[in-house]
Structure formats: C-alpha cells, structure tokens
C-alpha cells in the first residue's frame, strides 16, 4: 500500500496543473503566431532549414533586381538600335535620291547637309546615356561617352564586350556599341571593291560572289589602259598577272575572276585602277555617311565619282544597317531570355517560400485539434483536482 503525503499530493496536483497550463499556453502561442517554431529549440533542424530557405528567398529577390536592371538596359539598347536603323533608312533614301542624274550641285549639297544632320543624330543615339551615370553602348566600361569624333573618324573609346550582372545567371547590363556601329563587314561582306586611282568617270559596283569555293582571299587590282587599241584592262592577283590581261573594256560588262564578279561602268582614263580586297570587319556607319556627304558636297565631282559615292554609300549603309539590325535582334532575344530567367527566378523564390513554410509554419488543422485536446485535458485536470481536494477525514469527524 502506498502512503500519500498530503502536502505532496497538493504539490503534485498543482505542478501537474501548471504543466498543463503551460502546454496549453504554448499551443495557444503557436496558434496565434501561426509558427511551429518560435524559438530555435522548438526544432533546431527545421529552424536551420527555414533560415536557408529565407536566404534563398532573399537571393531570388536580389536576382530579380538584377533582372530588372538588365531589362531596363537591354530595352533601352534595343530602342537605341531601332532609332539608329531608322536614321540609316532615311540616309539611304536621301542617297538614292542623290543618285538622280538630274540633280545639280545645289540639290546635292542640300542632301549632303541632311546626311550630316542624320549623322549627328546617329552619333547622339550611339552615345545615349543609360540614366544611371553610364552609357548604354559602353561595353565593359568607358570613361565617358563611348563614341568620340576623332580626326581619323569616329572611334569607340570603351572596352568591348558587355558588362554582366551578378545574378545567378549572367545577364547583360550594356551592349558592345563598337561591334554594332563600327564593325560591319566592308564591301559586300566577302570582298570590297574600291577606287585606286580614278581620273576618268568610271565607277565600280559592289560585286558579288559567284563561286565561294574559288575564293582566294588575296587582294586584286584592275588596271586600265587607254591607248591605240582602245580601252583594255588587266586584273592583277596580289600584284601578279592573271588570265585576264589586256581584255578589251566594255562598260557594264561583268568581270569574273576566282569566283568573284564585279562590274565597271563609265569611261576610265588611262592608268585608272580599281581595287578588290577581302572584306574586313571595320566598316563604320559614321565614316560611310561622312564619305557620301563629302562627295555630294564636292561641286566639282564628276559623274563617275558621284555614281561611285552613291553605290558605295548604299552598299555600306546596307551593311551597317544589317549589322545594327543583328545587334538589335540580339537585344530582342535577350529581352525574351530575361522573361524566361524571371520565370525561373520567380519559381525559385516560390520554392524557397514553400520550403520555409514547410519548415516553420504550423499545420493549422493539427494545431487546432491539439489545442482542443490540451484544453479538454486541462479542464479535466482542474475538475479532478478540485474534487480530490475536498476529500478529508476531518470532514467526517466531530
């Protein structure tokens, strides 16, 4: 038989009640905060998990800010390239008009002035600021405006490439303006025809490739000689004679050599020569407009020079516009990719939030039933205690 000490009975009863009360209190705390973990010791590993998830969430937010910065930059770049292509289109129309043989020097001069205006606008567009102290087309960094009007033509005073964001996936923050404006392929993209010496009125077209497999990649020159036998020409390959030597010249007739075909028009003078060199990636749209405007401004230009200027101008504007277009479409693709990246980052953030919620949030259904169970338990304990404490032998004595 177990003896019960009256004082201990009271004590045990009270401490059990207190314990139940504190359990009830904890359940109530959890219900009000909605959190399963209110302090580390409630579940250390879940607390650590929640902390990691919280870090992932903060990181997704930082990534989102990087995406926003990148999108702002890329959208502006895309706009700037669009503006530039539009300006080049206007220039092209003007140049086509300048080819009109009925135009006199005055009209050509007006066109030249308009071309200069377009060039100035283009320069401004190329040096557009990004609104944050930098420039859109500054590549991997520039000291100031990336394009500078230097004596030898417009130069790109910036480091090529693109600046990247620090997000999980690298995103561009700028564009390589040098590659877009100053690095179109010259000529027709494979070879470039040009004027060596021209005292006559002849001009050469841009030419085309007839058989890519025969291309040599060597420089050629077309030498004219006007003498008793009429006008003849010889094509030299890298300074050496070829099969085309002293061929009678017919204006507009195609000259074919080593997979290339080009046409010389007009009347060449004796010792005139034209060059055909491999194309290089250094065509500047600014130089193109400058060169065209210079010829149109020249009141003494003969028809050959004018035609040459228009032909070269159109050729180069087209090449420059194509280069800008490709840069613009690259920006467009980036905008699309940014959307994808944003979706991914959003997904990661959601995942992190779910992870955190799983780790530290309370299962409400479970918690409420738990709370009710504890409430019932406490209620029963209180009742039992009050009943028990009424029992005493002294109540029945005397």
């Amino acid at each position: 038989m177990t003896r019960i000490s009256t004082a201990n009975q009271f004590e045990t009863g009270v401490s059990t009640l207190q314990q139940r009360q504190s359990e009830l209190n904890l359940a109530q705390q959890q219900l009000t905060s909605g959190k399963r973990i209110n302090k580390l010791s409630d579940d250390p590993s879940a607390a650590a998990r929640a902390e990691r998830a919280r870090a992932a969430e903060a990181r997704a937010e930082a990534d989102q800010r990087a995406i926003d910065a990148s999108r702002a930059a890329v959208a502006q770049v895309e706009g700037a390239y669009g503006d530039a292509t539009e300006l080049l289109q206007q220039a092209r129309e003007l140049l086509v008009a300048a080819g009109n043989t009925s135009y006199g020097p005055g009209e050509r001069r007006a066109i030249a002035q308009q071309l200069s205006g377009i060039r100035a606008q283009l320069f401004k567009v190329a040096n557009r600021a990004d609104g944050a102290g930098g420039f859109l087309l500054s590549g991997q960094g520039s000291g100031g405006a990336p394009f500078v009007d230097a004596p030898g033509g417009v130069t790109y005073v910036a480091t090529g490439g693109t600046a990247q964001t620090a997000s999980s996936e690298s995103l561009p923050l700028s564009a390589d303006g040098g590659a877009a404006y100053l690095a179109a392929r010259s000529g027709n993209g494979v070879f470039e025809t040009g004027v060596g010496t021209s005292t006559g009125t002849a001009w050469i077209d841009a030419g085309r490739v007839t058989d890519p497999s025969q291309l040599t990649g060597l420089p050629y020159s077309v030498q004219f000689s006007v003498g008793g036998a009429g006008t003849t020409y010889s094509v030299l390959r890298n300074g050496s004679a070829t099969a085309l030597t002293n061929v009678p010249y017919v204006a507009g007739q195609v000259v074919q050599i080593d997979g290339m075909a080009f046409t010389v028009n007009g009347a060449p003078a004796n010792a005139d020569n034209f060059t055909v060199v491999p194309s290089s990636a250094d065509l500047s749209v600014f130089d193109t407009l400058d060169a065209a405007a210079a010829v149109l401004n020249n009141t003494n230009a003969n028809v050959g020079q004018l035609n040459q200027a228009v032909a070269n101008g159109l050729r180069d504007i087209d090449a420059g516009a194509a280069q800008l277009d490709s840069a613009r479409s690259e920006a467009g693709i980036w905008l699309q990719r940014l959307d994808n990246v944003e979706t991914r980052v959003g997904g990661q953030k959601l995942l992190a939030q779910e992870e955190r919620s799983n780790a530290e949030d309370l299962d409400m259904v479970h918690a409420i039933s738990d709370f009710q169970l504890k409430q019932t338990g406490y209620d029963a304990a209180l009742k039992a205690y009050s009943q028990m404490q009424r029992l005493s032998l002294f109540n029945f004595l005397g």
Binding site: K39, S41, A48, R49, A58
Partner: protein, 652 residues
Amino acid sequence: MSASGLMSIGVRALAANYAGLQTSGHNIANAGVDGYTRQQVELQTALGQFTGAGFFGKGVDVKTVARVYDQFLTRETQTSRAQASFDTARLDRLQQLESVFAGGDLGLGQAAGSLLNAMVDLASRPQDLAARNVVLGRAGELAQHFSSAAAQLDNIQSGVAQELGAQVTQVNELARQIAGVNDRIAVALGSGQSPNDLLDLRDRLLSDLSSHLQITTVAADDGSVAVFAGGGQRLVLGGQASTLQLTPDPYDASRVALGITEGATVRPLSASLVGAGSIGGLLRFQDDDLVRARTMLGQLGAAIAGSLNNQQALGLDLGVPPGAGAPLVSIGAPQALPAQTNARTGGGAFVSTVTLTTVDASQLLASEYDLSNNGSGWQLTRRLDGFTQTVVDDQVVDGFRIDLGTPAPAATDRFLLQPVTRAAGSMARVLSDPRGLAAASPVTASGAGGNTGSATVASLDVVSPTVDPSQTATITFTSGSGAYNWELRDQATNALLSSGSGTWSAGLPIALNGFELNLAGVPASGDVFTVAQTAFPASNNGNALALANLRDAMLVGRVGNGSGGLTGGMNITDTWAAAMADIGVRAQGAMTASSISTQVADAAKQAWSERSGVNLDEEAAKLMFYQQGYQAAAKVLSVAQTLFDTLLDATR
C-alpha cells in the same frame, strides 16, 4: 497489590496517549513544512512486577519519539535535486543564448545575406553612389549585428558570473548553518535521544545545498555529518565550514572559476569536479556552451570580414587614381592569454608574450586552444575536439600563426589561445567613403572580334594580389581541342615578358598573372582572348561580381587537403544555419535533460514523501485512536479512584 498500582498504570497510559496526541498534533502542524519528516511515538510495555502469582503488568512507557526516516530516500532526493538544478540552470541560460542566435528577418544570417545581395545591385550600377551607400549601410548593419550579438553574450556572461556569486554566497551560508546544526545535534545526542527537528533542519539544509552544489556526506559517530564537494574537498567537517570563493579564470578574466579556501590558500575547483547542482550547470554553460557560441560567432565574423576585405583589396575603388580597395570591416584581433601563474618580471609584467596573427580567415575554426610545454616542446591542444599537436615558433595552425616571441616562454608557462573568441565583439565597418568600395576589377578580359568558336568570357576572377595589370595577357588557341599559347606583354612597350602554352578543358580556369579566366562554350583554333588592364575602372563591375559571388564561396572552416590546397568549408548561410542548429540542439537537449531530471527529482521527492510525509487522514485517525486511549486511561484512573474510595469507606 495496591490501588496505587492501577493509578500508576492509568497515569502512564494517560501520558502515553497524550504523547501520541501531541506528536500527531505536531505532525498536523508541520504537514505543510517542506522536508518535515513525520514523527511517531514509540511505546513499550513496562516490565511486569513479579509476585507469587506471576508477573503483573505495570503499564506502558514512552520509549522515544522517532522520525519515520529512510536514509536512502533522503540521499536520493538530494542527488536527484542536484542533477535537476544543474539541468535547469543550464537550460535557463541556454534559452537566453538561443535568442542571440535567432533566425528570421532580424537575425544575423539575414544581415549577412543582405550585404552580399546588395553587391548584386552594386554590380548592376557600379557608378551609382546610392547602390554603394546601400552596401556600406548593410556592412554597418552586419558589423552592428555581430558586435551586438557579442555584447549580448557578454551580458549573459556577466549574468552568469553574478548568479554564481550569489549562489556561492548562499552555499557558504548553508555550509555555515550546517556546521552550526552539526554542533547542536552532537550536544543533543549526548542526552541519548534523537533531536528529530534538528535532524530535519539539517536534512533540509543539505537538500538546499545539493540544489546548488553536488555534495557527498559522511556521518560521524557524534551525529554530525561531514560534507564534501568538488570531488572530495571538505566543505563542512563537524562544526567547521570552509568557504567557496569565486575567482577570475586563470586565463580569461571575463570568466569566473570556483575555488575553496583552505586556511590562507584558495584551492581551485575545476568545473568538471564541481559536478551537478546549479553552480555546476552555470559553470558548464560558461565554459562550454557560451564559449562555443562565442567561437562560432567569431569564426563566422572573422571569415566574413576576412573574405570581404581580401576581395576589396583585389579590386579597384572609385578614387583618383583608382587604388586597391581599403578594408570594409574590422574585427577583434586574435588573442593569446597568459595564465596568471606565468613567469613575471620584478615589475609584475609577464616575461614573455605569445602573439597570434590571422593568416587565412577561411581556415579558422570555432575553437580555443591550450598552449603548454610538456618538457620536450610546445603542445597545442584544440579544445573543440582535444586534438593535440606539437608546434614551434611561427608555425601556422588552423589559419593563424603562433609567434612565441622573445624571450621564449618558460617551460612552466601556459597560454589560452583565442583566435576567434573576441573577433565579433569589436566588429565595425571601417570604410565610410562609398567611393572606396572596390567594384572594379583591375583587369578585363575580352574575346577578339574575329573569334569563330562559341567560347565567351564567363568570368574573370582576380585571385591573387600579385596580379600585374600592366601586363597584357594574350591567349591564342591553336587547336579545337583547347591547346593554347599565351604571352604576357608589357602594356606600354609591348615587350614580350613571358610566354608559354597550355591546354584548356571545359570547366577549368586558365590561370595566369594572378587571375583566373573561365570560358563558356568551346573555343575554335585561332580564337584569341585578351586580358588587359581595365581601361575604365569607374564603370567596371568585375570585383562587385566577385564580391557577390562570396555568397556561394566556401569561406568558413576550410581545412588543408594535405597537398597544399584547401578543401571542405561552408558558405555563410550554411555556417549560420549550422550555428543556429548547434545552439538550438543544445537548448533542446538541455530541455529534455531538464525535464527528465526534474521528473526523476519529483519521483524521488514523492518516494520520500510517501515514506516520511504527513498524511492528514492518517493523523486524524491517530488523533481519534489516542483520544480514545486517553479517555480509556482516564477511566482506569477513575476506577482506581473509586477503588480507593471504596477502601476508605470500608475502613471508616
């Protein structure tokens, strides 16, 4: 036979029953007194008187009033109470500690994350002073978080020291009282009867003492008990009590240690010998849990500060001309604390000092170290895991260098090394100029315009301060399978400085001149990549990218892989989460231990009270029993009186 015989029996019976009533009354009166042992009257039959007609009983004698006492149960309540107070004291402090390591939006982990995430914005807009100011603000917040966490730990430490002081005072008072009661018990026992209430008082004092300190008791023949604490140190012997004393830790004056006075000397009581009791719990918390918390905090702080400052130094700031970045945050220096017993000069200063220097913050461990000489050399013991190794002057261990100084310490000198313990306490942001943030990389990589392969520059990391930006590196691929030639040329004169060749394979960086170039895609033969001095540092974000990459860098607790490299380690988020879990598990474990030991103590108390406690119903029954006995005895007296009167009447 005489009537007086019956009278005498009646009187004895009256006295015996009265004694029973008195004892029950005493029990009822003391029913609520904690530690009161119920008493009961022990009666014995008085030896009979021999007559020719045999033995006639002479009534009853009160033999003694005895305690219903079980030595085993009493001792059990004391030891179980000591364990319960140990666990409860430690739990209370650990619960304070876990609030320092709380996670969530206001936690330290979040502050570290915000700082590094702000680097993303710095990378997006390296020229934007607002983004730079945000980084500085976040760095300040982080340093503030670390130093305030350390200050909270200091507060907890001083709270522990104060409470230990109060407890030591109580222990000394209890020991003094026990010694006094010992004396009184010895005197009272001389009378041949057991002084029950004094014994109860002493048991209660012993029980109170046990809740502070684990004790062992040995009973002496004179009834006194000797009390020993701390593995055999005499606390009370007869009427003499020694005193406990709180002394500063021999190394670290901010911590306290326990000592016991023996005459004029104070003998130290090590925490492991103190054992259970709330004093033991507090010492254990101070020496183990709090040190762990401090070192974990310091390790993380030192690693973050070290990596941030290193990365700052590798980049260029916005200064004119751009210079290497100045340190962003400062931390408390590593310390080597000499033992108070180390050799001193005549002036009282220590003869030799040991200095620590952090070499690689990423290799620091969350531990303190003991440095002592075993006669053949200096032994360094890592307290974290007890790993011991022999060290020499200027040796680098776990990321710090030990400089034994001149003159070298004496062989009897001992030191406590704290490479990270104080790191977090004085953490502060030291960079105040937003232009001082080194967002730019000193070198920039770019692929040549004519490259035909798909390779692009994925990243360019400056990994060593030896990088020389005036040397332009050109890497020319000579095959489609990654073979390349490189040359370094002087930027100004284009003079060839050095050249060589190598083979690139996907995922491996090309390391030259203190930088590492990572390519994405596959280079074709003839592709050229150039790494040249950054022409426009103001708008470059190369180093900001590297700073943001610290989020994933394994920069805490790396260990050597045996071949000069480093392996292992954790990133900042994981380190913080692990520290949280460590403290959380400690608190959780202490909670479980405390609830178990409290239950054990309660059960012991219950077992004791079942034996020795007062049951009022029982006492009520006894009251009735003795009352009836008393009434019956009175009746015996009355009968004796009547007999006497009858006799008187007969002789009248």
